[in-house]
């Protein structure tokens, strides 16, 4: 049975720089296969409230992009895990897309996700990624049309970040057939798919196995961090371990309102990120 790998997301500088490094290391220790480090932006339109609040707090604590690159350098060297940077177009553009890609690659990042720099408005970021050996990763959504999917696939990205909608009932989670068909259609483009958006349980990880290369988990860890006390490193390692199937299922069964995948059901925001 193929496994769905775990991409653990965290916000650089949240709650502060030092503790966000500790969070990343704990997630890596708990079994995360990839780390996704979000560089906070003041106006994060693709994120839900949990991640937005963490970004605001990190900025209030003085997060700087240079500090973010230093953090990536440390994590790549000290955890041995591939590190992705996630941020917004403004942050990338402020340095210049090529320069940002160069700095990211130099810091040891494996990939870069910038949801609001899509392939035809990318400020040449995809070309810069190719030049510096950085996997610039497009983000797609279930509403993405076949024509756009073709345009994105023609870039031959190594990874594609796929925003999911998952039907969630309390602690019991299942992917519906539409989601599986959608994921499989993305996989046929030849890239490794990273499924994101509302993944919070081992059950979801198991359902994704064979259909996605990895699952990105963010808000779930932020919630675990908020619930934990001074021993947050243990709690996060356990949360990552639980998603990987290495621990008990406690701490991953927070009740969650039922939502259908259909567009009409989306009047309320999920707690996680949105792409």
């Amino acid at each position: 049975m193929p496994e769905c790998l775990l991409m653990a997301h965290l916000v650089a500088g949240y709650p502060d720089m030092e503790r966000s490094v500790a969070v990343a290391k704990a997630l890596a220790r708990g079994g995360a296969d990839y780390l996704e480090v979000q560089f906070p932006f003041s106006d994060p339109t693709a994120d839900g409230p949990t991640i937005e609040r963490a970004c605001q707090a990190a900025l209030a604590n003085g997060f700087k992009v240079d500090g973010g690159f230093a953090m990536v350098r440390r994590l790549a060297a000290e955890t041995g895990k591939p590190v992705f940077i996630m941020t917004y177009g403004s942050i990338v553009f402020a340095r210049g897309a090529a320069e940002f890609a160069r700095l990211a690659a130099e810091a040891g990042a494996t990939g870069l996700v910038v949801p609001d720099l899509p392939p035809d408005y990318d400020e040449n970021l995809f070309a810069a990624g190719a030049e510096f050996g950085l996997a610039v990763t497009p983000v797609i959504a279930p509403e993405t049309t076949p024509a756009r999917l073709g345009c994105i696939g023609s870039l031959r990205p190594e990874y594609i970040y796929t925003a999911l909608r998952l039907g969630v009932t309390g602690s019991e989670t299942s992917l519906d057939d539409d989601s599986i068909r959608y994921l499989d259609s993305v996989s046929r483009l030849g890239a490794k798919t990273i499924a994101g958006f509302g993944v919070r349980s081992r059950g979801q990880m198991e359902a994704l196995a064979g259909h996605a290369h990895a699952a990105a988990v963010g808000s779930h860890f932020l919630d675990a961090l908020a619930a934990a006390g001074p021993d947050f490193e243990e709690a996060l390692a356990a949360a990552a371990g639980a998603l990987k199937g290495n621990g008990t299922r406690q701490a991953i069964t927070a009740p969650h309102p039922r939502r259908r995948r259909g567009i009409q059901a989306r009047t309320a925001w999920p707690r996680g990120r949105r792409f």
């Binding site: 900025l59 992009v65 949801p115 899509p118």
Partner: protein, 405 residues
């Protein structure tokens, strides 16, 4: 069609969740614009419900007091709901209905755009939800009441600085989930394409009327002056003359309390002004070196925004539009000046244009003309202006009202 870029500015910098909504909206707008029936509907509602054409008058007393060029005032604030905002709101709600949408959402700062969309949605039979930063909702209570009276649901936004820019973020997020049955009516000539171009087209009526009305006076136009927040009144007012060399076009930004960071909303000059990407478009923003959007300040909520519409930014750099600023105090002074001399009360936003027009007219010879766009009327600002111009008397009044309630 100029849907995408204005020089280096503009674009459609959004994630894929929003992409289908914008692609479809752009296509349907092109279709509607080519449809005579759509224009006929728009013309009827403009005339019978918005109250177009709005008047233009010669400010004779003001001209005498200033001792320079003749000052004309375009009374756009006499449009229904009190400002030019209604032109874009009605146009886009008509489009929404044409596209088969059943609901519209909008962001609002002071509440003028929210009010305009709420009114248009009530009139045209669509549901309406307005996102408003909780700070703005608290300081603009009267508009919240009015929007709710028109059946709109006002959703306070608690994230970020809890003001206009956060309301835009919230509306963009909501739209990415609801676009199959919902249209997002952005309130200014900004955001991802095609919004800046759509807003300009619907606001161009202000400039077209002005040109016609000025022709009737027999005076040539030497200078046109408009305030610039996001910039929809300015781009609409200037629209018929963007491609010619004259007249001089002057955009007026909010100079706020001073030129320090966070004290103003001057995007076209100054140390915090940078080219950046936010809210789906590339333009000039108040940003730090990392690309983080900075706070802005203006006594007028409508100018209190860190970005500027991409076409205005581009025309500012090319030199076609000159940019100046007016401070909070200068705006209040202009408000008083036009009220005393002409019996009209400018909205605080438009009073910035009034202040610049006074300055410009003083420096010009008699016989030349300056036309200023009073984009909004000042009734909505009573809670702010009364406090700024006579604090004690105002507080006394509020206390007596509270005691009587």
């Amino acid at each position: 069609m100029r849907f995408d870029y204005f020089g280096e500015y503009g674009g459609r910098y959004v994630g894929e969740t929003l992409r289908p909504a914008l692609d479809r909206f752009a296509a349907e707008f092109v279709e509607a614009w080519a449809d005579p029936e759509f224009h006929a509907r728009l013309a009827t509602i403009r005339k019978t419900w918005i109250g177009r054409p709005t008047p233009l008058f010669f400010a004779e007393n003001a001209t005498k007091a200033l001792g320079g060029a003749k000052v004309y005032v375009k009374m756009e604030g006499l449009a229904h709901t009190g400002a030019h905002k209604i032109n874009n709101a009605v146009g886009q709600v008509l489009l929404a209905r044409r596209m088969g949408k059943t609901a519209v959402i909008a962001e609002t700062g002071a509440g003028q755009h929210g009010l305009a969309v709420a009114a248009a949605a009530a009139k045209l039979g669509l549901r309406c939800r307005v996102y408003m930063g909780s700070v703005d909702a608290a300081r603009q209570r009267p508009n919240v009441f009015a929007m709710e009276m028109m059946g709109a649901e006002v959703t306070p936004v608690e994230s970020g600085a809890r003001t206009l820019k956060d309301a835009i973020n919230a509306a963009l997020r909501e739209w990415s989930a609801t676009f199959p049955d919902t249209h997002y009516v952005i309130g200014s000539a900004l955001g991802p394409s095609p919004f800046p171009e759509v807003a300009r087209r619907f606001q161009a009526v202000v400039g077209e009327e002005t040109i016609r009305q000025m022709a009737e006076t027999g005076d040539a136009i030497d200078v046109m002056v408009a305030c610039v927040g996001g910039g929809s009144n300015a781009i609409g007012f200037f629209s018929p003359r963007l491609d010619s060399d004259s007249p001089r076009l002057v955009g007026v930004e909010a100079g706020g309390r001073g030129m320090g960071p966070g004290e103003n909303a001057v995007r076209m000059s100054g140390g915090a002004s940078r080219v950046g990407i936010a809210h789906g478009y590339k333009s000039r923003f108040l940003m730090d070196g990392d690309g983080q959007v900075l706070g802005s300040h203006s006594i007028s909520a409508g100018l209190d925004y860190p970005g500027i519409g991409p076409q205005l930014a581009s025309l500012g750099e090319s030199g076609r539009i000159e940019f100046e600023s007016a401070s909070d105090d200068e705006a209040l002074e202009a408000l008083t000046f036009f009220a005393r001399h002409e019996g009209v009360m400018f909205a605080l936003e438009s009073a910035h244009a009034g202040a610049a027009a006074m300055r410009i007219a003083r420096g010009m010879s008699p016989g030349r003309t300056v036309v200023v766009n009073m984009s909004g009327r000042g009734d909505k600002d009573l809670f702010i202006t009364a406090k700024a111009l006579g604090r004690e008397r105002w507080i006394e009044y509020l206390k007596s009202e509270a005691d009587n309630a």
